[in-house]
């Protein structure tokens, strides 16, 4: 009998040890999660060809071809607060790129679930001069995997997506990506 109890106690202790080890291991996994709110967000598109941009023109110059140029694609909506916050930053970036002579990046804005009149109003209000496209049915946003505006993608001259920003983006962040290559 005594031996039996000894055995049971041992089994219990081994089980508890296993539980403890498992919990510590899990705690380490939980504690080492990448910190949330990282601005540069992952997307399966990174390193792949950028999806095509198409749609009725809302404002600004016609889309034309941008083969061989850096392109910054920004998804916005008039109802989105963060889009207002980043608007001046995007304008500053577009203007400074237009002034620079070589390899200037072009900014393309795409309206996300926004009626044309309201999207145009937003662009007027924020003083945007970039090419702006309408996205009826949200199929362009879907092709880019946009969850919620604002989202901003940077496409390299070779047509590959190199960065994605979720939330309000700063001009310096975009310049860092465009200038680094």
């Amino acid at each position: 009998m005594a031996r039996r109890h000894g055995l049971r106690t041992t089994v219990l202790r081994v089980a508890l040890l296993a539980v403890g080890a498992l919990v510590i291991a899990s705690a380490v996994v939980f504690a080492l999660q990448p910190s949330p709110g990282a601005q540069q967000a992952a997307t399966p598109l990174l390193g792949h060809r950028a999806p095509p941009l198409a749609g009725p023109l809302l404002a600004g110059p016609a889309l034309g071809t941008h083969r061989g140029n850096w392109v910054v694609v920004n998804f916005f909506a008039s109802w989105c607060v963060d889009c207002r916050l980043e608007a001046s930053s995007l304008n500053r970036f577009a203007q400074s790129q237009a002034r620079s002579s070589t390899g200037a990046a072009r900014l393309v804005m795409v309206a996300f679930s926004d009626p044309s009149s309201q999207a145009r109003g937003f662009l007027r209000l924020t003083g945007s001069t970039a090419t702006a496209l309408q996205d009826p049915g949200g199929q362009t946003a879907l092709a880019w995997g946009v969850r919620e505006p604002p989202e901003t993608f940077v496409v390299a001259p070779n047509g590959k997506v190199v960065a994605r920003f979720v939330g309000p983006v700063k001009a310096t962040q975009l310049e860092a990506v465009v200038g680094s290559r």
Binding site: T9, R13, G20, A31, P36, V81
Partner: protein
């Protein structure tokens, strides 16, 4: 002034907890009863400090003191009075303050309840544990999550206001406090479990002492969860009540563990069985409340209920690890003392059924936990972002829920301590036929699908079983000479009432989930449309402006009469995003849930209204109320002779392992 008072309150409370813990430790070491009594008195310092801090926070919210960063972010001059007050739990720092307030309230209740036994080492150890837990949360409040942090820069003229989702329903005033009463309440049984392990007094004494505390916390948590579901139904606009969201799971997990505990505690109380298991369940329950706080407050997981993100993650997960290691280590250390007095002799006995119940609840918790934290593991090992949603949880928990319904029907009819197949055959024939009749009825009403029909059958079975138990415990009370009300109102009947409530919730959930219909109609003013058996008439659009919000609403009537329904989209304070506020018409048989999908562009232009018709939704909330009632019945102390004699005589039986036949009623009633 608010900042000074609040900060001082928190620091005083923290000092009180630490000094109290120190005095208790010295007293325990020197076996000095006077010191132990003195140590327990520091509870009042903690309570006083936290109350001052809470008062300062409330004062700051009501007077719009925007020099405090928390107030500037969670309050505005336009916020209605009620939501000034609830602003305290709109975000992380204030929620932790609420946590501290509830905990110090429990500490004070403990001090009062055990005032005559403050010199008892077990009580002293339990108090020590509570002090340490309080010290942990208070030090979070003192430094990394300081609710009284000063706003950098000039004081703004107006604040941002609470999150729009947190300022349009009264439920916001009740749901978080109840949830916290539940979460925090498990600290007390946990502390006593630790105390019993440290002192080596692992008999069932501490368990009896804390049974009521655990039950109270369990009841509050359950009601808090139901209110949370109700809140999301009223606010989130998709017509659902449970999305297996990580925050919902974080509240459900301790509830599941605690449900297992309040059942298995009966087996220990009666027969001295399952002592290691019960201690483990209490440690797990408390640890899961901490893990839940981590999941919801650290920002590792996105959720509709998570209104804060912070850098507290590593600290909270560290505390979680400490809790588990302490519990597991102590149980291992005391393993020799914890060997069972007896064994489960037959699976077809009450204790056998409780064992099965615990296996089901443990599996339930494990699977919910696995699904909830799975994304964290995937992200850690593969850097892939994945998410586990409703289809997984529904698939794995449905069979367990059905098994639990079955056990709920069978277990209360089983006798303690002996094989009860014959007893079952006699006692369950009528409930069995009620179940069979429910299945027939369901099939006649057009329900198809084995799972669903079986669910209704088991619900009928369990419901009838609970009614039978209720009747038996009433009859037993009457034969013992109690009054009518006293016979109905007691622990045994309380349990059966809880079971009835759970059955009601289960039927309502299964029906609403499987027979809901959703669609949209596009209407011009004055037009009507028929959809899902309802006639919807759109009268006009309207814009309503109040100081705190601007709403665009559609004025609608259902079926040509009755009150006006106003599904709307609203904008709160300075925010520019509109959030929907659904309009709901509830009747006992069905809810009609209307949302404004696209508001009218101008007078005379059409609107698109989302229509969701779901049967029996109201019974989910009613069932929750029945559970609350049953819990209250179980909590009421009964001072009559009958109950006491009943409990103790059975206990004695258990020790001897006797199989003395008992009168039918008495053996069942106290279950």
């Amino acid at each position: 002034m608010n900042i000074v008072a609040g900060r001082t309150g928190i620091l005083v409370a923290l000092a009180g907890a630490l000094v109290g813990a120190g005095v208790l430790l010295v007293g325990l070491k020197k076996r000095d009863g006077a010191r132990l009594k003195a140590g327990a008195a520091y509870v009042w310092v903690v309570l006083g400090g936290v109350v001052v801090a809470t008062a300062a926070m409330q004062h700051a919210l009501f007077t719009h003191d925007f020099s405090i960063a928390y107030v500037a972010q969670n309050n505005s001059k336009e916020t209605p009075l009620l939501f000034d007050a609830t602003g305290m739990w709109s975000a992380l720092q204030g929620s932790l303050l609420l946590w501290a307030l509830v905990l110090s309230g429990y500490m004070a209740a403990m001090a009062v309840r055990f005032r005559r036994r403050a010199a008892d080492p077990l009580v002293a150890w339990a108090t020590l544990v509570v002090y340490l837990v309080a010290a942990f949360f208070l030090s979070l409040l003192a430094w990394p999550a300081n609710p009284f942090a000063r706003l950098a820069g000039p004081v703004p003229l107006d604040g941002a206001g609470p999150d729009p989702l947190l300022q349009n329903r009264v439920l916001v005033a009740f749901h978080p406090p109840l949830l916290y009463l539940g979460f925090v309440g498990f600290t007390v049984p946990f502390a006593f479990a630790i105390g019993s392990l440290v002192t080596g007094r692992t008999g069932e004494g501490w368990l009896l002492e804390t049974r009521r505390w655990a039950l109270f916390a369990w009841g509050c948590l359950g009601v808090g969860i139901v209110l949370g579901a109700w809140w999301s139904y009223q606010v989130l606009g998709w017509g659902g009540f449970w999305a297996w969201d990580p925050v919902e799971n974080a509240a459900l997990l301790p509830w599941l563990c605690a449900t297992a505990y309040i059942h298995s505690a009966m087996a220990q109380e009666r027969l001295g069985l399952l002592s290691v298991w019960n201690l483990s369940l209490l440690v797990a329950t408390f640890a899961l409340t901490v893990l839940g706080t981590f999941l919801t407050r650290s920002g590792v997981i996105q959720s509709v209920h998570a209104f804060s993100d912070s850098t507290l993650g590593p600290v909270l997960i560290g505390f979680f690890a400490v809790v588990v290691i302490t519990g597991v280590g102590l149980i291992g250390w005391r393993a020799e003392l914890l060997r069972a007095e007896g064994q489960v002799r037959s699976l077809l006995s009450r204790e056998g059924a409780i064992l099965a119940n615990n296996a089901a609840f443990a599996a339930f918790s494990f699977l919910v936990l696995a699904g909830t934290v799975f994304p964290l593991f995937v992200q850690f090992f593969t850097a892939n972002q994945v998410d586990v949603g409703a289809p997984y949880f529904n698939a794995v928990t449905t069979p367990l829920a059905l098994a639990l319904l079955f056990l709920m029907a069978v277990a209360p009819a089983l006798p303690w301590r002996r094989a009860g197949s014959q007893v079952l055959r006699d006692r369950l024939l009528v409930p069995g036929w009620v179940g069979g009749a429910s299945m027939v009825l369901a099939a006649i009403l057009g329900v198809r699908g084995v799972e669903l029909v079986v669910c209704f059958g088991l619900a009928g079975f369990a419901g009838a079983g609970a009614l039978r138990g209720l009747f038996k415990s009433y009859a037993a009370g009457r034969t013992m000479g109690r009054g009518r009300l006293a016979s109905f109102w007691g622990r045994g009947s309380g349990g059966m009432v809880v079971h009835l409530g759970v059955v009601v919730v289960a039927v309502a959930l299964a029906t609403a989930y499987n027979f809901g219909q959703r669609g949209q109609v596009r209407l011009r003013p004055g037009q009507s449309a028929a959809i899902f058996g309802q006639t919807l008439t759109y009268h006009r659009g309207a814009t309503v402006v109040t100081p705190s919000e601007t709403s665009v609403e559609a004025v609608v009537t259902l079926n040509g009469h009755g009150s006006l329904l106003r599904p709307a989209v609203s904008r709160f304070g300075a925010a520019t995003t509109y959030i929907g506020s659904p309009a709901i018409q509830s009747t006992p048989l069905r809810d009609v849930y209307l949302t404004l999908v696209s508001p009218p562009a101008g007078p005379g232009s059409p609107v698109v209204i989302g229509v969701i018709v779901q049967p029996l939704v109201i019974w989910i909330w009613i069932g929750g109320g029945i559970v609350a009632l049953g819990t209250a019945m179980s909590l009421t102390p009964r001072r009559r002779m009958g109950a006491r004699r009943d409990g103790s005589s059975n206990r004695a039986d258990g020790r001897r392992g006797g199989v003395r036949p008992q009168p039918v009623g008495a053996g069942e009633a106290a279950g």
